[in-house]
Every structure is written in structure tokens, then in C-alpha cells.
Symmetry: C2
Subunit: 195 residues, 2 copies
DNA sequence: ACCTGAACACCGTTCAAGT
DNA sequence: ACCTGAACACCGTTCAAGT
């Protein structure tokens, strides 16, 4: 899962200490972000990892890059969960259950959900591709079964769930309520077209 | 609207220059936030307002206080709009239309929607009371007409709309799509109960 | 090739002195 | 009663020197 075996990547090019520094930085970031949120001091992260601040910047040029390294782990687990739930005989319920896991999985600390929304909507979207591919299977089955309104885009569903996660970071019960509300519809009969 | 004529407030206690400084700070903040987002330099705001940084802190002890002063204006307009729409013969459509105005009204600059979610969910909630009261009339009529599912709380509807605003700050078309999706329901038939 | 950390720039916040 | 801005603390980011 963490191996980078692309065909033409130079073999044995990554020194052991480089790998180790990267792993230490990610572990330190996880700990710091969980304590202080996504805005935690990067100097503190480097200190906790036992490396210089320059090494942090070399591995992760921006804070978002560091956050996406943490998100990649969460995305992996959520992709697994999506593959499991894709077997469900009730695709609509399965999609909703997965969306609950998604919201919960991207709110490990304040600011994580906002970073997830950026990474999901980003141009490159490297980190989130496995997640989106696994979710697409689940989403398409729900669509085929008629559980999702025609014309609905997965990207919009993920963004809406990301928005719910963003505003309920410290309140898991509210997250469940808002997700149920958005799933069932706030105003089911209203005219959908703007203006 | 901006007069503070509470019964036992000391009359003539607010010096003209104090009022003027406050107004200048708000105007400067609006300009700076629109240019740089809600994280704009507070020193820059003070400089643009032509006052010392200490004066900014005296008037607005926290950045959120300054943001809420801007939000109060937006809330006033949205309260007016809610009162107009409360006359509508189609309460469900009126509520959805107002929610569009709400999302649009709290996304004048990046970070405004997040501040709105804080102010709407806050304990004191001074700034947002007029908004919530006017919205409640509209919301209750929609509920009585059956347009809103029984048991739905206005606070949850506002928070959900705030979440949509937060993740679509730079993309008004996405805001419309997500609002339509949440209004109609992402998965209308799914089991609503968590677990 | 990678790491280190000093150096620089910038900002938030407080508070003693002034009016 | 309010205003000012110097002073302090802290953090992000770069990059010359070292291994």
C-alpha cells in the first residue's frame, strides 16, 4: 500500500533514512494535529519527529501536502469499506452508511475535513483517487437501484458530505443528524431549479 | 438599526470619535477581508482604518468579533428577505429560495461562512438573533405546509446550509447544486436512523 | 542527495505612556 | 475614557553550510 513500485521508478533510490524521516514526520504530524488541530506548529511537528524544520519542508512543501499524507491513510480504509459495502443487497442504505463512515473518517481533528474537501476537489487529486474509485462503484449501484436521484454527481455528494463534516467537527451527533437530513431531503417537494 | 437605545444605557456616553473609529474599522475590515479573506492581517485593517492596532483590539477583542460585525449587516438584509418571503403562497419554495440567499449572503469572502457557522451555533448568538427569528417564521410556515419533514430543527437546516456555503465559497454554481441536492435528498429512500 | 538550523520576515497581542 | 505604537513572543519559510 505504501510501496512506490511504478515501472520506471529507479530501484533502490530511496535511502532508508529518508523513508524513516518521512514516516516519523507523518506520525508526529498525526499526534500534533490531533492535539492542536490542522494549524499546529510545523516547527513542533519537526521537533517531535526529531528532524530539522528544513527536512519537513523538503518532504512536504506545504501544510496541505502533510495533511494529505494523513488523509491518504484514511482514504485507504474508506476505500476498503466502500468495497465491502458494494456487496450489500440494499445499495441506498449502503451508500448512506458509507457516507457516515466517510464523515467520521475525515474528522479525526479540526481542520482535517477542510483539507479533505480541498484534496477531493483538487486538480491532481492523487491521494483521493483510490477513494473516489471505490466510492464510485457503491454510488453507481445506488444509482442503478434508483436510490439516488438521476443526474446526481458523486463529486457533489462527496462535497456535501465534506461540508457536513466541516461544520460538525466537534459534534458527531450533529454530523449524523445533518447527514440524515441531507439524505432524506430538507424540503423534498420544493422546486429544484434556482431562480 | 445601528442605534443602541436600550432603556438603561447611559445617554450620550459614546463619544463621536469612538463611533467613527468603530465604523472605520468595520469598513476597513470589509475591504481587507474581501481582498485577502478572513485571515487578512489585522495590522493592515488598523492601518487602512487610520487607527492604532490597540484601538482595533479595544473595539474587537477577537477576529471573530470583527467578523460578526460584518455578519450582522448581512444578517439584517437576510432577515428582511425572510420577512418578505414569509408572505409567499408556496412556503417550501420560499424557504429554499431564502436558503439560496443565505448561502450567497454569507460568502462575500473566504472564511466568512465559517465565521457564520460559529456565530449561528454560538452560545451568546447576539448578532444572529434577528436572522434566526425572521427565519423561524419562514421555516415554521414551511413546516406547517408539510414541505419540511416533521422533527426537523431550524438550527440543523442553517448549519447544513452553512456547511454548503463553507465548501463552495469560490463556486456559486456548486452552491446551487449542493443546495438543490440537500433540499431534494441525496438518498431519499434510505433508512434514516444511524447504525 | 539529503539534512540542519540560523536568519529573515511577518504577524498577533499586550500594555505603559500619552491625550 | 480612549488612543497609540513600541515591545515581546511566536511562527513560517528559505538557504548556505555541512555530511
Amino acid at each position: 500500500m505504501t510501496s512506490d513500485d511504478s515501472p520506471n521508478a529507479p530501484v533502490r533510490t530511496v535511502r532508508a533514512d529518508v523513508r524513516r524521516n518521512r514516516a516519523r514526520l507523518i506520525a508526529a504530524a498525526r499526534e500534533m494535529f490531533q492535539r492542536d488541530g490542522a494549524g499546529a506548529s510545523l516547527e513542533g511537528v519537526a521537533r517531535l519527529a526529531g528532524v530539522g524544520i528544513g527536512t519537513l519542508y523538503r518532504h512536504f512543501p506545504t501544510r496541505q501536502d502533510l495533511l494529505e499524507a494523513l488523509l491518504a491513510d484514511a482514504y485507504g480504509e474508506l476505500a476498503d469499506r466502500a468495497r465491502e459495502l458494494a456487496e450489500s443487497p440494499s445499495p441506498g442504505d449502503a451508500l448512506l452508511e458509507w457516507l457516515r463512515a466517510f464523515v467520521s473518517g475525515i474528522t479525526a481533528f479540526p481542520g482535517m475535513a477542510a483539507a479533505a474537501v480541498v484534496s477531493l476537489g483538487g486538480e491532481r487529486g492523487e491521494a483521493s483517487r483510490p477513494l473516489r474509485e471505490a466510492a464510485a462503484v457503491l454510488f453507481d449501484r445506488a444509482g442503478e437501484s434508483g436510490a439516488v436521484p438521476p443526474g446526481t454527481a458523486l463529486g457533489d455528494v462527496l462535497r456535501l458530505a465534506g461540508g457536513i463534516a466541516t461544520v460538525t467537527e466537534r459534534d458527531p451527533e450533529a454530523a449524523d443528524r445533518l447527514l440524515s437530513l441531507a439524505a432524506a431531503g430538507m424540503i423534498p417537494g420544493a422546486a429544484a431549479a434556482p431562480r
